[in-house]
């Protein structure tokens, strides 16, 4: 009776981002200069001394755990209300993310009572989210160290501020799950012949647009070919599928900016258009600015322009050396060469895909629910997730089951390392 009434008023509050900061202890080693260590702090409104205190605490925890495991200091700190995740992506550069545990809000005697669910969050999931924050930053800005070399702390701070100010708003911590641990790549299933046609197309395009260094090809938001190395592709794929493509989905669905350009000379009608770069090729004043990305940062450290061009469901990413600024003339050439061929190819793929689907009977509801991940090629497949959008993860199973799956996964990976020190469980509320 009372329980039923109480249950009816129960409210679940999802985990949220409390704070996120980046520091380097070497930047302010002297007492009184602690603020210099802080490179980025979210939320910025927090009072200076609290920032310093929080950074200092993290430093102390890391230092403390290092005495037990010199190479692998703590990765997370569990408290009653929240959980902190530590990540050192570059030497002495620390990233910390503090996530508030999910809460169940109950009403007792008319007053709200909050119950923190300490065991709900999965370390592996949020550690991975934190690592991806760095990878995404690095993709668009290069390494922290490179920024320091370019213009010292000032430049690094500017870049961090500019990037994370927007990026953190898109984190959607409540919908993170096991798939974020893998950060895998969904590959588009394709028959050999169509695949070879795509290969042939890419090779010819790289030849005609001779400044292209790397190419990636996607269909239906799934990868078919990557000329980039695996780790760079992994993060670029995440950017494309969770940020760039969804942003362009809505105008497409609304049927705006109808892509058929009947005024094309030679009657070359096609559906190709730029997702990055110029909006209107016929406007001589249009800007041909493309996002810059950084790849192979451990090795050759290449800076590239990212051109994303799409026709129907097929998207191609052309990456060209950043030292060659793409001109409007180049964009027009690309459009006239790639557009018609990509349009034909996209409809070929679609046709072939439908044939294969009919043969394999894949249209039916999958018989088994599974998450597949191949660590060698990062191939990922899930029948649990209907469709993952950046804001909502539509898992078709109960959240409890997702959590169990997550636990199993971390048990497996813990089995490999047998390192309990990675997680520090604090029994006292913090």
């Amino acid at each position: 009776m009372a329980a039923a009434g109480a249950a009816g008023q129960e409210k679940q509050l999802a985990p949220t981002l409390l704070s996120f900061f980046i520091y380097n202890p070497k930047l302010g080693p002297k007492e009184g200069e602690e603020e210099k260590k802080i490179l980025f702090y979210h939320p910025n409104e927090v009072e200076k001394n609290e920032k310093i205190r929080n950074v200092g605490l993290c430093e102390a925890i890391v230092q403390f755990t290092r005495t037990f495991s010199p190479t692998k200091p703590a990765k997370s700190l569990h408290t009653q209300k929240n959980r902190q995740f530590f990540h050192e992506p570059e030497e002495n550069f620390w990233m910390v993310m503090v996530v508030r545990n999910p809460i169940i809000e109950k009403h007792k005697d008319g007053k709200p009572v909050y119950e923190y669910q300490e065991e709900e969050l999965l370390d592996k999931v949020y550690s991975s989210v934190l690592q991806q924050c760095y990878s995404m930053y690095k993709l668009f800005n290069g390494t922290f160290l490179r920024a320091m070399e370019d213009g010292g702390v000032k430049v690094l701070k500017e870049r961090l501020e500019k990037f994370f100010h927007r990026y953190l708003q898109t984190l959607h911590l409540q919908s993170c799950d096991l798939l974020d641990v893998f950060c895998g790549i969904s590959f588009f299933p394709l028959d050999k012949m169509t695949y070879l046609k795509i290969q042939s197309f890419i090779n010819r395009m790289e030849e005609s647009l001779n400044i292209v260094k790397y190419t990636a090809f996607l269909y239906n938001d799934q990868l078919i070919w990557s000329g980039l190395e695996q780790d760079d592709m992994r993060i670029l794929y995440k950017y494309l599928t969770t940020s760039l493509f969804p942003r362009h989905m809505e105008p497409e669905l609304a049927g705006r900016d109808s892509p058929i350009r009947a005024e094309m000379p030679g009657n070359l009608q096609h559906y190709g258009r730029f997702l990055t770069g110029p909006l209107n090729l016929n406007d001589p004043d249009t800007k041909c600015r493309f996002p810059k990305i950084f790849v192979n940062t451990d090795d050759t450290y290449e800076e590239l322009h990212l051109i994303v061009y799409k026709a129907m469901s097929a998207a191609v990413c052309f990456m060209i050396d950043a030292s060659i600024p793409p001109t409007l003339e180049f964009c027009r050439k690309l459009d006239s060469i790639v557009g018609p061929q990509l349009t034909v190819l996209a409809s070929d793929i679609c046709e072939q895909y439908n044939i294969n689907k009919r043969i394999s009977g894949a249209e039916k509801e999958p018989q088994f629910k599974f998450i597949y991940f191949n660590h060698m090629n990062l191939a990922e497949k899930s029948t649990i997730h209907m469709r993952k959008t950046p804001s909502v993860s539509l898992a078709s199973v109960h959240p409890d089951l997702m959590k169990i799956l997550g636990d199993i996964n971390s048990d497996f990976s813990r089995g490999e390392t047998m390192d309990e020190m990675q997680t520090l469980q604090l029994l006292q509320p913090c």
Partner: protein
């Protein structure tokens, strides 16, 4: 050059007035014409054969005749009284004999096989009041006489030295033409001469094919013979018989020049105009057919052009109009070897006068110089064509139809892959597709032949022949040996291009559903590995672009030290092959993955027959005591199950392992035989 499609012997009677409609005045311009044609010596794609037939040149006492059926030249001295010498392109040993001089020889020919000689000395026929136009042998014992009043088909009975009339047909004949290749005689009938009546001869039968009319360029002014035999030729092109008509430029029509009109003459059905070859010039012409190409010689410019009716032309609904394939070129300059023993003659060989007015041209490929006493066959040279045909697709279409094309095609392929004439990928793709189209056609023919033979249907079809592999069939091994392996080894091209070319070839093979040989995959893998492009390799394997095979799996296995995931990729491939279970077990054991090997073999139900010693060896090498214990126990249990006793038999050679087990785990750890 006297005749366009000459048939009559180049005797002293040569030098008739040019036929109506022909541009006159060729004779006087010889010197200038040569200068025009001779300038461009490079790129001569036509040549006279290196070993011509030499005969005594025509003079008042020596008459020279040519027989198209046997391709023999007859030099008849003094009507045969002082000797007849017969020489041919094929039979190099001359035949010499004498015969009584019974007057001027009009025509002289051996039957097929050189058994019987027929000689014509008069124009008048004995029996009827008709003029004999000539005769031709259609077999070793069958002969056809053509008179101005009809055609008579006889069988020769050599024992009785008589002729037996098999068939005759009365018809007014202006002139006739014989095509020995197809055993067809063409008669020119009607007053204008432009209605042609073909007859076909085969083993004692003469059949009349449907007659047809040649369209004359302009309505003739008077009722006189308007179609000369000099403007007609017959030849087999791509296995089909064609009548070629040289239609001269007429001032009344607005055509830009003369043209050759091809009439297709099928064995059954009616003759149809099918192709028009545009010459774009006027003057004196002669025709040859070489390697299924129509060659048109032009005396005024001393150049020749070639046409290929299989190449794409302009189709107007009924006929296809063709332009010449290559720019006009002269026949390659030719040196006449100086007669006499080599020791005596030290002087330089004499250049031969090409396109001379004393040249006579016969079908399909014969050129005779009566004044110099030479008979040549005309040849097409393919190497110069490569540089004359810029469009590589068209070049391939052209080369693939030629007899001796293989090495030229392979060299074109090599050329387009390397600097300085590197082709674009789309050109390379087009070339590969054309080659594989031809390759696939052959594979299909071969396959259906094999199927018919295997199913025993061949007995009911005696005409069935194994498909001929022409030089145009360029298979994967040819491409690998002559083009691709050389190209990848040279390493002068950027690796991106190398890989793109290999993938393009594989793409083309797949497109034509030709199974790709593993050495091509090996080439791809080697190139990728050389440039550390393992992720690309991984993606190719993921989409099964590199098809599964044992050699490929082994190659992958060998890459494990530089690319660890190759190990798993290799195992997955072996598993998919499902014929490589032993290999999988070996691979796993070599990696000391003994349990995995055992699980695998149990999964496929082979665990009762495997060697215990092999597994125990591997377990011991793994230096993992628990593993050894597990494996040892597994086999003890197997022994128990199979033989009712857990101990090993001497035949299993496991004594060493039993001792080791006892050492480590103690005697009491051995499994006790179960007693009931």
């Amino acid at each position: 050059m006297a005749a366009a499609a000459g048939r009559q012997p180049p005797g002293p009677a040569e030098g008739e007035a040019p036929a109506a409609g022909r541009e006159a005045g060729a004779g006087g311009e010889e010197g200038e014409g040569r200068a025009k044609g001779g300038v461009e010596a490079g790129g001569c794609y036509l040549a006279l054969c290196a070993r011509p037939v030499h005969f005594e040149k025509a003079n008042p006492v020596n008459c020279v005749f040519f027989d198209e059926a046997n391709k023999q030249v007859f030099a008849v001295r003094s009507g045969g009284a002082t000797g007849v010498v017969v020489k041919g392109l094929e039979d190099r040993n001359p035949i010499s004999f004498r015969m009584e001089d019974k007057g001027e020889v009009k025509c002289i020919k051996f039957s097929l096989g050189n058994k019987i000689l027929a000689v014509q000395r008069t124009l008048k026929s004995v029996t009827k009041n008709a003029n004999i136009l000539g005769f031709c042998w259609t077999s070793s014992t069958e002969i056809v006489f053509i008179t101005d009043q009809g055609i008579e088909f006889y069988q020769v009975l050599p024992e009785k030295r008589t002729l037996k009339l098999l068939k005759n047909q009365s018809i007014n004949v202006n002139w006739y033409m014989y095509c020995p290749e197809s055993s067809v005689i063409l008669l020119s009938t009607t007053v204008l001469g432009n209605v042609l009546q073909p007859f076909y001869f085969k083993s004692g039968t003469m059949s009349k094919l449907s007659k047809f009319e040649i369209e004359l360029p302009a309505a003739p002014k008077s009722s006189k013979l308007s179609l000369s035999e000099r403007d007609i030729a017959m030849a087999t092109i791509y296995g089909q018989l064609y009548v070629l008509y040289l239609r001269h430029h007429s001032r009344t029509s607005n055509s830009t020049g003369a043209e050759v009109v091809l009439y297709h003459l099928p064995r059954e059905g009616s003759c149809k105009k099918t192709h028009i070859l545009k010459l774009n010039r006027t003057g004196k012409f002669a025709l040859n057919v070489v390697d299924n190409l129509v060659v048109v010689h032009h005396q005024d410019t001393e150049t020749s052009v070639i046409f290929d009716i299989k190449l794409k032309g302009e189709f107007d609904g009924s006929t296809t109009i063709h332009q010449f394939v290559l720019p006009p070129r002269s026949i390659q300059p030719y040196q006449i070897p100086v007669a006499g023993p080599p020791s005596v003659t030290s002087q330089a060989p004499v250049p031969c006068k090409l396109y001379s007015s004393s040249w006579i041209v016969f079908q399909p490929d014969i050129i005779i110089s009566a004044s110099e006493g030479y008979l040549w066959s005309l040849q097409v040279k393919l190497e110069p064509v490569v540089n004359l045909l810029v469009d590589k697709g068209k070049l391939m279409d052209f080369l693939l139809q030629r007899k001796e094309c293989k090495m030229v095609i392979l060299s074109v392929c090599s050329q387009m892959l390397s600097e300085p004439e590197r082709g674009s990928l789309s050109v390379i793709a087009t070339v590969f597709d054309k080659l594989n189209n031809e390759y696939k056609k052959y594979l299909e023919a071969e396959q259906s032949y094999t199927m018919v033979v295997e199913t025993g249907l061949s007995r009911s079809n005696p005409l069935l022949k194994r498909p001929v592999r022409t030089q145009a069939v360029i298979d994967q091994s040819d491409m690998y040996t002559h083009v691709l392996s050389v190209f990848t080894e040279k390493k002068e091209a950027p690796h991106k291009f190398t890989i793109a070319v290999l993938m393009e070839y594989i793409r083309s093979l797949n497109q034509f559903q030709i199974a790709v040989q593993h050495y091509l995959y090996e080439l791809v893998i080697k190139t990728l590995v050389q440039h550390n492009l393992f992720y690309m390799l991984h993606q190719f394997l993921q989409y099964h672009v590199l098809s599964d095979s044992k050699p490929l799996a082994c190659l992958l296995l060998s890459l494990e030290s530089i690319y660890p995931p190759a190990h798993q990729l290799s195992l997955d491939m072996l598993k998919r092959l499902s014929t490589a279970n032993d290999e999988i077990v070996e691979v796993l054991l070599s990696k000391h993955q003994v349990l995995a090997a055992l699980r695998f073999i149990r999964g496929i139900g082979g665990h009762d027959s495997i060697s215990a010693r092999k597994f125990l060896d591997a377990a011991k090498q793994a230096e993992d005591e628990m593993l050894f214990y597990t494996i040892f126990r597994f086999f003890e249990q197997r022994n128990q199950r199979l033989r009712g006793n857990p101990s090993f038999t001497p035949g299993e050679h496991c004594e060493e392992h039993v001792t080791f087990f006892k050492q480590v785990f103690g005697e009491q750890a051995l499994m006790k035989p179960t007693t009931f």
